[in-house]
Symmetry: C2
Subunit: 292 residues, 2 copies
Amino acid sequence: MSAPLIGRLVVVGVGLIGGSFAAALRRAGQVGEVVGVGRSSDSKREALELGLIDRAESDWAAALDGADLVMLAMPVGQMDAVMAGMLPHLPAHTVVTDAGSTKGDVVAAARKCFGARIGQFVPGHPIAGAEKSGPSAARADLYEKRRVVLTPLAENASVAVDLVRQAWRVCGALISETTPEHHDRWLASVSHLPHLLSFALVSELAERPNAEEIFNLAGGGFRDFTRIAASHPEMWRDIFFANREALLAELSAYEAELAYYRELIESGDAADLEARIGSARAARTAWAERQG
Amino acid sequence: MSAPLIGRLVVVGVGLIGGSFAAALRRAGQVGEVVGVGRSSDSKREALELGLIDRAESDWAAALDGADLVMLAMPVGQMDAVMAGMLPHLPAHTVVTDAGSTKGDVVAAARKCFGARIGQFVPGHPIAGAEKSGPSAARADLYEKRRVVLTPLAENASVAVDLVRQAWRVCGALISETTPEHHDRWLASVSHLPHLLSFALVSELAERPNAEEIFNLAGGGFRDFTRIAASHPEMWRDIFFANREALLAELSAYEAELAYYRELIESGDAADLEARIGSARAARTAWAERQG
């Protein structure tokens, strides 16, 4: 047997994202020991029972000793505090990456905490959420054929970026690379805004006195449109704040589009309305075909 | 063998909805002959080849002769013209129903065309769309455990409503009854508005010069949120116009909710934002559990 890619992996936040990363590496035989760190003892116990981690630690020095790779997989709102706690105990050879859904704020937090050691931090984002959360939702195949975006920094040694790239490749992910700024703007369009729109639809209906009757008439379209409205509230609150600027810009563009649809419907402009819907259908169908 | 529920069924519009209705009744042995009527000869030929219909007719007199039930399954924008063409040839014993996604406008069109014979028309709406359309998308199990809303009229004989109810029961559907007005208001909330929101997201992104790059970063949340954006443009154009008033009222309520989210994000109100998202998650989760 050749040595695994990662001798010791530390996962901070042993939920769906961190747990699935560990499970995928373990399934491939590419990790020696997995150490779990997190604020919830219940999650750590559950992760131990499920075999996602080999050891749970609440002490940074013990957790980080001999670590080859650290995966930060908590909600992005906790990045600052976690990085500040971790850094004094971080060995010089250890590579740190993250799974945060926003990159600009995470890189800013990392620059502040890591300082001259920023080269050790390789930012990343697996685009593979699910409405389920927690260790019990973790699956070794979560990342198969899913997109992972890395936003490497000028300070990263190529060996550090390679380690993170290889780890995701072992998980079966498709890897893209771009800048943190592009990442945040694009993700605001295709992920953060859709989540906001889906939350808003459901929370508005839920407030109504006859909500249950209305929901009873909902069908498959509603089910799919609102699946992401069951996503984790704290995680999404953090993402909306972390990517506020790009998200609000996307929201403005979207509101303008909605106003255009309203105008077409009010004025009875059948040809333009059908063309606009047709352009959505064509783009959605082409995308689905590219996804295979 | 006992006689089938429907000796002769006429399906006007042999696409996903009408074709699946015929296929389900046939699978259950509850239809004798299925006659297909429609403006597209390609669809009729395809429906014949697939065995969805036994006979295609373009002449109303030939199509309606001896018909027990007529299912109107074209886009709602064609109801007026179809009903006007059909009525002079409609036998007195024949029950007519429809699958239109809006009911107020269909009932208004029916009252105008049927006049004193309005008792023959039992309005209905199966909530079982799909992004696919056409005869090849038809499936005998499309309506299993799906909701069908009937909005019977005061003039309907109970035997006419019963026939339609039994036909849908044979298809495996769950049947609700309400007024056309309630139907339209509720469907605007849980179906028409979500379609509009999904079309708007995709058509806005599709216009951008870097649309393909952006779409490439889209994941599972985007896939589900935008599935309905691949729906049939003409059908949805018609629905938006047919249910314009209720839809625009829902859109206004939604825009107010979006403005509230914007305010929470701009002001950094973490507690209220998390609570609002939490209320969406709770309502969505409870609904999914009721659906089983």
